[in-house]
Symmetry: C2
Subunit: 449 residues, 2 copies
């Protein structure tokens, strides 16, 4: 049973293999369902927006030139000749010294070119006002076409729609739009020792953790999870589930399918397909080394390590980018995570030539936020639960020192309130160019453990 | 119609008012539905995990003492006395010089205390191996209870569940869990000039942008949006919709309900309720000043400015924190956003005493990433579409200089590939203490525009 070591490639080389996979087809969805989907085509302006000069204030529309020089001590007298009804274009032509009442969002009268805020006026009687501050041309006005112009590209193909992008589509009257199909990701757990959550594991067995972490991770990455089941370590069972996955989904993810106990079975099952290819088997990543990436037809098949922590790291680094590619984004990278600046609490050695992900918990200590490495082997899901995020040690780095400033990539967009306050104040301080951390504490010589 | 200026309070003071609102009730949901929900109770370990000494490698279980001193040049000879079947506890008692084959996840035999990786062994014949590297006690083993112990608190009440937290619940056999009710947020747009998306707006009117941006923002913040409709500027219509919102949701959000044209109506409608209170009317925030926060019974009622950009900024800064509070998180802050370090491309003045949010687009220029302010009034949703995020200028700051380093709070967890690569390399460079940006370009005297 002596096995050769994995032929390990670098994370960058592994990423470049993701380029082998392209985008899924398109489908038309209603505006209400566009959030987080990816645009198939550029979105262009259909007409000028706004399509009239629009007031941004409540006040009085005027010809700006008439207000020139008006101040509190020398106000300009204006006659109010009417009120712009919301939803109507007023055909009034203002004469010199005339104003018309207008509300935020209202359309300026034909020859009005500015709006005086009501706060800068004094009402004398029902039809006369004093203007206490002159306005420049187009002050308090969004000009016709200032938002965007007809024909202008506003959203590129491949863009993932955010809430404001839906607002733009709404403004343009787009009630449906073509988006990439959402990737369906089939998930299975493999291993004779894995039992479902509702069973009490017999001695030597464990409940199926990866089914739940990976299903949730697919949802978080805006995909559709498809649960295949638990495959025992037999070729036939594994092949049957892979088969089902290829039929029912766009990608197949096998957790526990890359460790030595079952990886030969996974590779054998994949190679049995006519148009298949093992692209990668082993990547210089810790945790997560024994990753398998393969292609069957146009579908990616990924074998993740069985350890929950390794499986999650590999999922984030490789499956999320694959999902993004299938959904039409031309990227090889996971989603950005919120980050948090911190001071490392102890030395962390790392092996050169390997990218290390170190789980850390954030802790306040005095005025500083410390990143404290969370002990725990990659089989221990509790170490991911205790951690706020991880720091990454690059391949060309032998380790980090206690006192080093580190960037913590957070697992989620929320952390404890106290830390968040620190984060907000810290970030803004750095935005002003100051340094929100005291000098790094005494550096110790990095000792290899 | 002369009105007094708003009595504006600081953002910090406004935030502290959010403490007036408490958490919703609880409900029991299945493990599959726990993602992004908030725990009502602490989650504690039910039993030791793992509940046996578990191998983290494929190889051979041994008594570590027997391997002492083994090296490649002086290997130790071991007799293989069997194989641990996955899912079973082996009752073999190892004698000196005996090993038993084991797989990742397997249970160690009674008196085994370490595992030798298969890569560090040489098979001589079917029952004899050489061990080429000694192992320490518990090397390549997760000890019983090392993950967590029975009774230990693993997740605090008020924690929002991430994918790994579901993994932990799965490991513990928890198939249901009590979570806070998900906040239902009723949304209406107000204003005579607002028409639905499927209508062609008559002159002076605009399509309803905020319905769509705010509905999406509620979804993004893990709430349930409830659409009430468009209220014309009449007290009765507004009151009827607020009434419906209070009955069908936990919070009511009125966009366009805080500008001068309609705010009196909103305030009048709110004050008509017996147990009601206007908590805030005006906050030193730009865009977003004319915000209304009120309480009707235990429900928050929020009047957002009608301009799409102002509405989104206020939503993020005040509605998201309210949703988090209703869901049982003890916070006053929005979710963390991914941030991106950049160099400001031009001077940005700001009024002291006001918190400014400045939309920016990220652009590569040489080896730097520039944050370029996106022009556009707060009525222009396209300026939010063009922007990658915003920078925040604090109340005590008069502005930022061209060349200043700024922290861009991104609107979403994805941006263009090229920028992401820059981001990743930049972040890791800073993790090693170096400076990934060249010296700030020549600083110009800040001129007030």
């Amino acid at each position: 049973m002596h096995k050769s070591f994995l032929r390990v490639i670098s994370p960058a080389e592994a990423r470049s293999l993701l380029r082998r996979f392209g985008a899924l087809g398109k489908e038309e969805v209603a505006l209400e369902s566009v959030l987080f989907r990816v645009a198939c085509d550029p979105v262009k302006g259909l007409e000028d927006a706004p399509n009239f000069h629009r007031s941004t204030m409540d006040g009085f529309a005027v010809r700006s030139v008439d207000t020139f020089g008006a101040t509190e001590s020398s106000p300009a007298l204006f006659k109010v000749v009417g009120e712009v009804a919301m939803g109507e274009i007023d055909s009034t032509r203002l004469k010199s010294g005339q104003a018309i009442r207008i509300w935020t969002g209202g359309a300026l009268p034909v020859n009005g070119d500015a709006v005086v805020m009501v706060e800068h006026t004094q009402e004398l009687d029902g039809t006369t006002i004093e203007i206490l501050k002159g306005v420049a041309p187009y002050e308090n006005v969004v000009r016709k076409g200032e938002d965007y112009k007809a024909g202008q590209t506003l959203i590129e193909a491949g863009h993932r729609f955010r809430p404001q992008d839906l607002g733009l589509l709404a403004a343009m009257g787009r009630s449906t739009i073509d988006v990439r199909k959402r990737p369906a990701v089939a998930i299975m757990s493999s291993g004779d020792e894995i039992v479902p959550v509702d069973q009490v594991p017999p001695p030597g067995c464990v409940r199926d953790v990866n089914r739940h972490t990976l299903t949730a991770a697919v949802l978080e990455a805006h995909g559709t999870p498809v649960w295949l089941g638990i495959a025992p370590d037999h070729l036939r069972s594994l092949s049957n589930l892979i088969d089902e996955g290829l039929k029912s989904a766009d990608m197949v993810v096998i957790s526990g399918g890359s460790s030595m106990g079952s990886r030969d079975l996974v590779i054998e099952a994949i190679e049995a397909y006519e148009d298949s290819e093992i692209l990668l088997h082993g990547v210089a990543l810790s945790p997560g080394k024994p990753l398998i990436l393969a292609r069957v037809g146009r579908h990616p098949v990924v074998g993740l390590p069985g350890h929950p922590v390794s499986a999650m790291v590999c999922f984030d680094q490789f499956v999320v980018p694959l999902m993004r590619r299938l959904e039409g984004e031309d990227v090889e990278l996971p989603f950005l995570k919120a980050t948090f600046p911190a001071i490392l609490s102890r030395n962390v050695p790392s092996r050169e030539g390997r990218m290390d992900f170190v789980r850390v918990r954030l802790q306040r200590k005095g005025g500083e936020v410390l990143a404290v490495p969370v002990p725990g082997k990659s089989g221990m899901v509790s170490s991911m639960v205790r951690a706020h995020g991880h720091i990454r040690i690059e391949e060309d780095c032998e380790g980090l020192y206690r006192g080093d400033r580190v960037t913590v990539h957070l697992f989620s967009a929320w952390i404890e309130e106290e830390l968040e306050k620190e984060y907000l104040s810290g970030h803004e301080a750095s935005a002003r160019g100051s340094d929100n951390f005291s000098a790094a504490s005494e550096q110790e010589k990095l000792s290899s453990i």
